[in-house]
Symmetry: C2
């Protein structure tokens, strides 16, 4: 908030209803949840980015970075900017927004950094405007931000960031987002500090898959969804199997197979590549197991000699949330 006052005098703008600026926490997210490639994601309670949005009398979006990531401030090539520009298109009464971006979720980590950048500001802007848009609209705007980041309009990180919890994207055109009830789950994430570009990770996938593999995959996603809603941890664990994407993409992540096997040996229900990597996530039934899983991850990357960061957290049920 400290840099805010310099740029905008919010009380001058009647649209904000006296609210000068809205600050939100926008969560990291895990997408491509094992057998749920391109359709299933969930939000994390940690890490989160912070965005502060205010109305501006200048036309367009004005980006102010308050972190060390040196992201572009030209709104057309900035994820938050592109999302807010898409929103502005449908707000003829609004001239512009100013965003102060304080990112924590590392770009390129595979835990939805760009989705956090896209989702947070549009939710904040919507609060400023009296919640005139539905969550589904906000996902639509935020996808313009994702497109800047990865070249593709996908919603599997954005939907959980905005809705919270576990979300299914049944269809992207037309957009059909379904919240999936889930039992309490502990999430351990390790981010080995290597670069896997989303576009590269997408390019190595084969355009065709064997029908028999596809059948296995849809058996598993059906089992996973049933396990989540019916709170059947065993079934969740059995269903966390990906016979299509993981065998191809995991070769880009040093230590992947060892981490996965040892984490399961330590009691994790299962897990896999987060997004398009390089982060790996594991789900556990309780905090103690999740902590043991973190130790396993550290051991593997300490031995390999690769820098890493871990996050020990739970599923975020609220999505982007206003800081009050």
């Amino acid at each position: 908030m400290r840099t805010f006052i310099k740029y905008y005098e919010p009380s001058l703008n009647p649209l904000s209803g006296g609210k000068g600026a809205v600050s939100v926490l926008s969560p990291a997210t895990v997408a491509n949840v094992v057998c749920g490639f391109d359709i299933l994601g969930f939000a994390l309670n940690n890490p989160t980015d912070e965005f502060t949005v205010s109305l501006s009398d200048e036309v367009g979006v004005h980006i102010i970075n308050d972190d060390d990531f040196n992201l572009p401030t030209n709104p057309e090539i900035n994820v938050s900017g592109a999302a807010l520009l898409a929103m502005l298109e449908e707000c003829p009464d609004v001239k512009g927004f100013t965003v102060i971006s304080k990112k924590v979720v590392k770009p390129g980590s595979g835990i939805g950094s760009s989705a956090a950048s896209a989702a947070g500001p549009v939710v904040a802007a919507n609060i400023l405007l009296g919640n005139r848009f539905s969550k589904s609209d906000l996902v639509r705007f935020a996808m313009f931000g994702e497109k800047v980041a990865s070249g593709v309009k996908h919603a599997d990180n954005i939907a959980p960031a905005i809705y919270g919890g576990v979300t299914l994207i049944r269809s992207i055109f037309p957009l059909d987002i379904i919240s999936i009830d889930a039992p309490p789950l502990h999430v351990t994430v390790v981010h080995p500090q290597i670069e896997v570009r989303t576009a590269d990770a997408r390019q190595i996938l084969k355009q065709h898959v064997l029908l028999k593999d596809a059948i296995k995959q849809w058996g598993n996603i059906a089992g996973l969804v049933a396990g989540l809603i019916q709170q059947d941890y065993d079934l969740i664990g059995r269903s966390l199997e990906d016979v299509i994407i993981e065998p191809v993409r995991s070769i880009l992540i040093p230590g992947f197979n060892e981490v996965k096997q040892k984490c399961k040996d330590a009691g994790a229900l299962g897990g896999g590549i987060s997004g398009s990597g390089p982060s790996i996530f594991m789900l556990s039934k309780d905090a103690e197991t999740a902590k043991a899983v973190e130790e396993v991850m550290k051991d593997v990357y300490n031995r390999i000699g690769l820098d890493y960061q871990t996050h020990l957290t739970t599923i975020n049920q609220e999505g982007v949330k206003q800081v009050v």
Copy 2:
């Protein structure tokens, strides 16, 4: 029961605990439920086959047909026989079974005639033997019967026949069957009287599918499972879409596209090919719509000039059930 007395004097056999014979009703089933190819099925309250099983002092399985289908009585090539022979392998204390088969579900109709023949007798035999086997064991035995019928050991008709309701086969080896809670659903089936052999229907499928189609399919199956468990009829309807199997197989069924579109226009949630065809099933929220759907089906096939049979029924929640 009338032909029974001639073949066996049940009270002589101590294993049956005084029960001379057990009669069961074994239901027709719908498998390959739209986007759930090879993994999702459900049981119908109508039509059903009737099987009466008794212990025999002769080694092996003795088949008696009490219907007009002229099915083989050699147990190795008879679906009920092959299933019971598999069961006998694990019953060292049992010499043999006699089965009286009174089939109603037409072989080759696509509503699980062979599964009814496989499931009914093993459930009846298990009751005779004091329920020594689990449902999962019974599915395993019955799959030997399916293999006789279609050359492939599949469980997507057998599982709902034995468990009742809607069942998911998450995995076939190892066998993992999950009962999926579902809201009340009305089912309308039309069986146009043409022959589609399961083996042929399987052969025309491509071994490879586009990844983007597979993603659509697993989005839909995830949506369908969520819709069923969360009792969301709209979501069920939206998810009843098959972009992989139906476009290929429906060309074998005259009138398919017209039936499907007109049934949806008449209010059906959706539906598709039952099993590998030629039957077509439609799901509706209420009995009135299901009846209107039946009229639409009749109209189409009357106009085409193809003989047909319809069934107006609901989902059978119990599976194979003893006649008492």
